[in-house]
Symmetry: C2
Subunit: 204 residues, 2 copies
């Protein structure tokens, strides 16, 4: 891992994507690899940690993910906003986007998925859960998170911290047409007595 | 509609949730109604506009959604952060949360779903697409968006605008434990020549 990356406990993995960042989906099969951008992902379960992400059936990424049964979710910081839009607008069938853009990847600890750390706030290594109908009808791929890590300068002890000293690592959220918004002020609501079983959605 | 709310073209509906805001899920069946918070939702298709949202099978909302085949996605502004956390931490089985919190709802134009405008930036009225397996295995509910509207002070012509003059309407993104982050600066990346077929994820 790069110097500031630390493992994230799996029970905290959902917090990495809970606030809706745009992510990079990484994948590899045989001697091919790819990275694409995805604005459409969400956690679906805390324990075991599971997520859903929309990967269009026409993409090269989808082909690699089905072939390997695995993918990475890397969370780019503001410093990678331009790259994120770029890799979302070109196909990995004809070029190795890692090589073209000089992206360094390291193999994930459990599945060997290519993961990006430089310029990213965090990553999740994911094992695809095959759901043929949902993949076909909604391009929605479910997966279990098997490992996660984050740059401790922005995510530590299960919590994000956004400040003037970590702007380059702050998450980006795609508004459309290449415009992203980054986090602003934090709002702390009065703590409620109940402990929600499912994030904000407990026994609602 | 309240004075500043305007219909949103259905092809722009996905943009309302593209950047990952925490939402309020509204529902009604017979003479019962409810509202809960959900941090876990995402678009899955532009046309027809479809979304996915995680609604725990033990919630009263899930019961109402299955009974009625419909729900609303209302996007609270910062002014409703405390309310959002509150309705995510209490059950609607025993109380009418609209009454308890003085929330005014209006019926959606297509399905009559209770929708919240005061303090919200936008809403989407949704028709559930029954997917028994996905609902059971992942608590993930798919739906088609049949109508949408937004406060023109923050979303107009398919675009969000965040500024000092609309802080109260700005979206909130749950970090966990009642802490939300609101949008900060906007990053504009260099436009790419390709027109991505699926948001940032074109032929990737």
């Amino acid at each position: 891992m790069t110097p500031n990356f630390r493992p994230v406990a799996l029970e905290h993995a959902s917090r990495l994507v809970n606030h809706g960042p745009t992510v990079l989906v990484t994948s590899a099969a045989g001697d091919r690899r790819n990275v694409m951008a995805a604005a459409w992902s969400m956690p679906v379960e805390f324990t075991p940690p599971r997520i859903a992400v929309v990967i269009d059936k026409h993409t090269f990424t989808r082909e690699l993910v089905i072939a390997s049964g695995a993918f990475g979710i890397c969370i780019p910081g503001t410093v990678l906003a331009g790259l994120t839009y770029a890799v979302g607008s070109e196909s990995g069938r004809s070029v190795d986007k890692f090589a073209v853009h000089g992206i360094v990847a390291r193999p994930g600890p459990v599945l060997g998925v290519p993961l990006i750390e430089a310029g990213c706030a965090a990553w999740l290594e994911c094992r695809l859960i095959r759901e043929a109908h949902t993949e076909d009808a909604y391009d929605t791929c479910f997966a279990e998170v098997v490992a996660a890590a984050a740059d401790e300068r922005i995510f530590a002890n299960g919590r994000w911290t956004f400040g003037d000293d970590n702007v380059e690592l702050q998450t980006i959220h795609h508004l459309g047409a290449g415009n992203f918004v980054r986090p602003g002020g934090v709002l702390r609501t009065k703590p409620m007595p109940a402990s929600p079983a499912r994030d904000t959605a407990g026994e609602s």
